[in-house]
Symmetry: C2
Subunit: 223 residues, 2 copies
DNA sequence: TATAAGACTTATGTATACAGACACGAAAGG
DNA sequence: CCTTTCGTGTCTGTATACATAAGTCTTATA
């Protein structure tokens, strides 16, 4: 892992944080990272600045960088925004998706069916992501897509957890079915409402799950 | 303007870009900025990285920083997302605003009335911003507020333009009236729909205005 | 005259050096 | 034995130095 440039380092750290490799609250020391990547502190610092701007890490003056410690409240807030934005995507996609885009979506839905039957959570997770990506694309709003995916990425480790809960995969797939039908019929309101609910459930399940613990700080799944 | 630190520099540049002082497409050279702020290139570079992460500037390797050149398409996309997010804020605020928050909102609405009658676009702009900020606060979702305000900030120079259009201030105020009533009555759907429309109008007027020019690149008002 | 190749200039990317702040620990005093 | 204070070390913030790539201008040749 030697001699990466600043952008490689940012990418690597981003992936590692998003995947939960660095738990929230973990201290990230410049010298340590510099040694690890085989570079000087300069590119490391620049990578950290960028990550701080996108909210993945917290950067306190003279106190260094820590992986953004997400409180339960904030996580719930983020899930709420995620659900709303997905709903918006659904509403817009319902009136903008082309017939060929709808064909692709139905095809992906079919693939999700197979993944769901296999029972492999990771497999379903991947195909599920593709399914949603197709809906995003159907918005024909690049900016919206970027924003949603940025948020989706930040919530990734916490979302992934959901699909491991009993029965969630089957439910998720059933919801997809309704969403596909709404999009197919061009029913804006329904598509938006269903997608929002689809994501909200993750949030509710998440809250249920976490209320079982007495933790105010959450440690995501370390894949 | 001598001897600022990296964060001061970021703040200053952010303000200057948001206010349109640096037109989109303008090149930002590290050495020039360093001289101007009386520091070395190091803090300037870090400020630029952060600005690039928040989308205000574009940072191409070996090609330096340019103020993000917003294409017309992208600007329209951003306005669309802005409208949707405001709508979401309205929906949520309608069911979460406390009576005291509603009192404050009505009070601010009254102040907007005075500003509207004065005919001073800048004055109305400022009070209008406070009005919307109160609705944001009514969401009780800090994360959503941060995201909306980030976007609002980026669109600031283009939004400001709208209020100078003939009759826009009166229309805007009338729309506020309906929004206040919906929030007061706790009508989620209406509040969301009205707020979304309120912002969408800016987008439409903007598109109308810009279609008069044959420009693909836009230069915001340099206040 | 136009075009292409090569040197030169300039700006970015990275490394290193230095200064200062914060944290931890040891030692002294109560 | 506990508390407080001072010293030392470590990490961050900034400056400067060096390497390299992109762009430009000049010059030579067709």
């Amino acid at each position: 892992m030697l001699h990466k440039n600043a952008d490689d380092i940012r990418q690597t750290l981003e992936d590692e944080i998003a995947s939960g490799e660095h738990a929230p609250g973990t201290r990230l020391e410049e010298l340590v990272l510099a040694k690890r990547f085989g570079v000087s502190r300069t590119p490391v610092r620049e990578a950290l600045r960028i990550l701080s701007a996108s909210g993945l890490i917290e950067l306190k003056p003279r106190k260094g960088a820590t992986v953004a410690p997400l409180s339960l409240e904030r996580l719930v807030e983020m899930f709420e925004v995620m659900a709303e934005m997905e709903g918006v995507c659904g509403t817009i996609a319902a009136r903008r998706m082309t017939t060929s885009e709808l064909t692709f979506l139905r095809h992906q839905h079919f693939i999700c069916a197979e993944a769901a039957q296999s029972g492999d959570a990771d497999h379903y997770y991947a195909e599920n992501a593709r399914f949603h990506a197709l809906i995003y694309a159907g918005c024909h709003n690049e900016f919206l897509i970027e924003e949603v995916q940025r948020l989706r990425r930040r919530l990734q480790p916490y979302r992934r957890l959901q699909l491991r809960l009993k029965g969630r995969i089957a439910d998720s797939f059933a919801e997809h079915q309704a969403i596909v039908e709404a999009l197919d019929a061009g029913e804006e309101e329904a598509a938006g409402r269903l997608l929002k609910a689809h994501i909200s459930i993750q949030s509710h399940r998440f809250a249920d799950w976490v209320s079982g613990l007495n933790a105010t700080r959450l440690v995501p799944e370390t894949t």
